[in-house]
Amino acid sequence: MSKYEIVLTTDRTMMSNHHGREFLGFLATGPALGLPEKLWLWLAAPKVRVDEEGKPVEAPYGMRKVEAKLIEAGFEAAIIDPDYIHKHLDSIKILMLGHHDYFAYGPPSSEWWMITGKEPINRISFRKLMESPAVKKAKEKGVKIIAGGPGAWQWLWELEYWRKWGIDLVIDGEVEKVIVEIVEKALANEPLPDYIYVGPYDSPSIEEIPVIKSASVNGLVEIMRGCPRGCRFCPVTLRPLKFIPPDIIAKEIKVNLKAGIKGVLFHSEDVLLYGAEGVEPNPEALVKLHNLARELAGEGPIGWSHLTLSTVKYAEEKYGLISKLMKDIILVGNQEFMGVQVGIETGSPRLAKIVMPGKAAPYPPGKWPEIVEDAFAIMHENHIVPAATIILGIPGETRDDVVKTAELIDKLKPYRSLIVPMFFVPMGALRHRDWFRKKHVKPEHVDVLLKTLNHSIYWAEEMMSKFYLKEPSKFPVKLLIKLFIRYVRYRVEKLKPQLEEWLKG
């Protein structure tokens, strides 16, 4: 007999540890290419270990925060794997959904969808969850459904699904301050608003953010929230900047290690700005933080979620900080490399000045291409493999801006990295602007797409042979990825003559 009146869940593409490799999770943002859908889903998002109640050992970090907040407020709340919701139909009163990309409108899902004309797996998977017998039964018995997370805004573009699935409330933004009151109202059957956007003034204080109670996917631990750089396309920059104190970070690392997670994955929009004064890194705070992680995790891997390229260059050139952290603390034991997400966004100094003037700081935005190249060189030397994004179709972009981006990609050839092009999705301070659509694609965009593809295929093959998925147990995953890379190369080669013809014309 279940006791949980509040069940938090999401679909399989989110409820997974992606074989312990976050990069593989991105496969779920595309449609199944060259593989059956089931196999593709397994590759991107295998099922996660659960207990007898269907509680996953690892779950998305944001959902863990909400779960912790509700538990601390005295509710019987738990994250439940989507395959086990039926076990809680007797007790459940509120079903809470979380997602990064409910309907595949975010980057890069929307781009794969546009290019291939096929629905991405994450969208299909979420729809399957909502139309599963367990969710339908829950709704029939009057369970309230509340949807949140970074992809909450997408519901405003899918009002028919909202109505069909009986969503009671969609909430967008940092919810720690308000979620308990919302749940109290829902449990008391008081009317709920339809939509809430939590603005920066209602952002929670450090004290209001709870420590997670159970493990997060791949040991992810938030070290700061917000970003001081103010890029106009980015929603994170709207959140007030706050640093999580080391003692709280240590508590969360311990929660993860206790659950059997082997490593620590620091999450921040720019890990190197932990404890920073503006964009001036704080070497002492960073070294302490990494020593803390190393001490707690033993020889387990330490990872970073995101970096800003200007901080990489500045931190290394001024303090030698990248080499220090990598050689002295991170690359000890079995860890040979670290993957991290970075944003190039554009190779055009003109466009950089307009939409992301703070991203280059403390350097001038006009130097952006040089900053990118220098940072890539530093990361290459230090065994950091960036998965870098490029945004095509930023409002105000000219053909010349796209050419500059293509030139920059050429300069990045010698550096081990993946470069992922994304089409502009209206978010952040630009969220009122129009989407980048197929009709806007110009030959220069196709040139960039081909260059990124060639770059990424080359380095992906190199990494597969040297670093990635070396454990014997990961052999099937490795084999499938190798086959997939070959398939992509074959398709690109086949399409090349047509594309080259189009580029000329």
Partner: protein, 97 residues
């Protein structure tokens, strides 16, 4: 004290056709100058729930600074009076947009 409604300004939005988002956003901006950072938008409309939100989309996406709480009410004279009675002790403005 409700955290959700604490120090909020209530906008009673009577929508009979297409919504003038700019008019609403200008109002939010003018009240923010008085110190309000949270707006509860009561939408009175004949449109169905949640489809009425399509007309609110621009308001939501144009805003990044304030907390917005959107509530639905079926459009009727009685409903409007009842809502205004409830809001008696709160700062509010009725907008036809």
């Amino acid at each position: 004290m409700s955290i959700l409604e604490d120090r909020a300004f209530h906008v009673v939005l009577v929508s009979k056709g297409n919504l003038d988002s700019k008019k609403v956003l200008d109002k939010l901006s003018s009240y923010s100058a008085l110190g309000f950072r949270k707006f509860i938008i009561h939408v009175l409309t004949n449109d169905e729930r949640p489809l009425y939100l399509e007309k609110l989309r621009n308001i939501v996406f144009e805003n990044i600074a304030y907390t917005l709480i959107i509530k639905y009410h079926k459009l009727s004279r009685g409903g409007l009076n009842e809502l205004l009675n409830r809001l008696e002790n709160n700062p509010y403005e009725v907008i036809e947009a």
